[in-house]
């Protein structure tokens, strides 16, 4: 049922259809392509971190380029921090509750542990 698409064939088809495009549409497409390429090649320096990342041996790591990326990273860190905090709180409460049950049900009287 499925026909295998040859990449060369696709390229040829695209070239053919591009030639059939209106001049205005073609130039608009070329312009936006050039703009996109330009935007990709020039790194946007946000908060002055980009250069520092490159200088400090962190260059191999993907680093944020826009304010939105920074906000996303901060939010992610916030989620992780609050998750860890919630987990720790829950764990601590569980420990205390278990201890309280032991104290309240132990054969030894409560006064032995209370000042």
């Amino acid at each position: 049922m499925t026909t295998k698409l040859d990449p060369k064939k696709i390229t040829r088809l695209l070239d053919q259809s591009t030639r059939q495009l209106d001049d205005n549409v073609l130039s608009a497409l070329q312009q936006s392509r050039a703009q996109a390429l330009q935007r990709q090649s020039a790194p946007v320096q946000v908060l002055g971190f980009t250069e520092r990342f490159a200088d400090s041996g962190w260059a191999h790591l993907p680093h944020p380029r826009s304010a939105r990326q920074w906000v996303t990273i901060c939010l992610l860190a916030l989620v992780l921090a609050s998750g860890a905090n919630l987990w720790w709180q829950h764990y601590h409460e569980q420990q205390i509750q278990e201890l309280d049950v032991s104290i309240l049900t132990d054969e030894l009287p409560l006064d032995l542990f209370v000042d």
Binding site: V71, L75, L78, S82, L86, I96, Q97, V101, V114, D115
Partner: protein, 136 residues
Amino acid sequence: MKRILTSGLLIVLLGVAPLCAAEQWQQLTPQQQQALAPLASEWNSLPDRQQKNLLGVAKRYSQLSPAAQQRMQQRLIRWSMLTPAQRKAAREKYRAFSKVPVAQREAVKKMVKQPQAPSPAVPISGVPSTKASSSR
């Protein structure tokens, strides 16, 4: 951007939410009410944190033996009347006591369980008490 900020706010609120979880006595389940019955009259006035802790204790109530359940209910009022600092100190003492070797722990238990001998009318020393001598 708005969506990101909204989700951030939501996360912060979710983190804070567990801190404000107070429940009235009437809102408790029958199981919780049964476990915490001795505290029925003062439940609504207990601090949120203590309520939350006691609800955790009540969760384990059904798994206890009848004797342990009875002991727990007998001690609940005294326990809830302690200050947070006293409870903390009691927990620390209990934790320390749990680390004592089993033999020693058993000895302490035996000592505590032993009924106290009635105080003799005449002290072992043979010297009558000052009260008795002054009443003459």
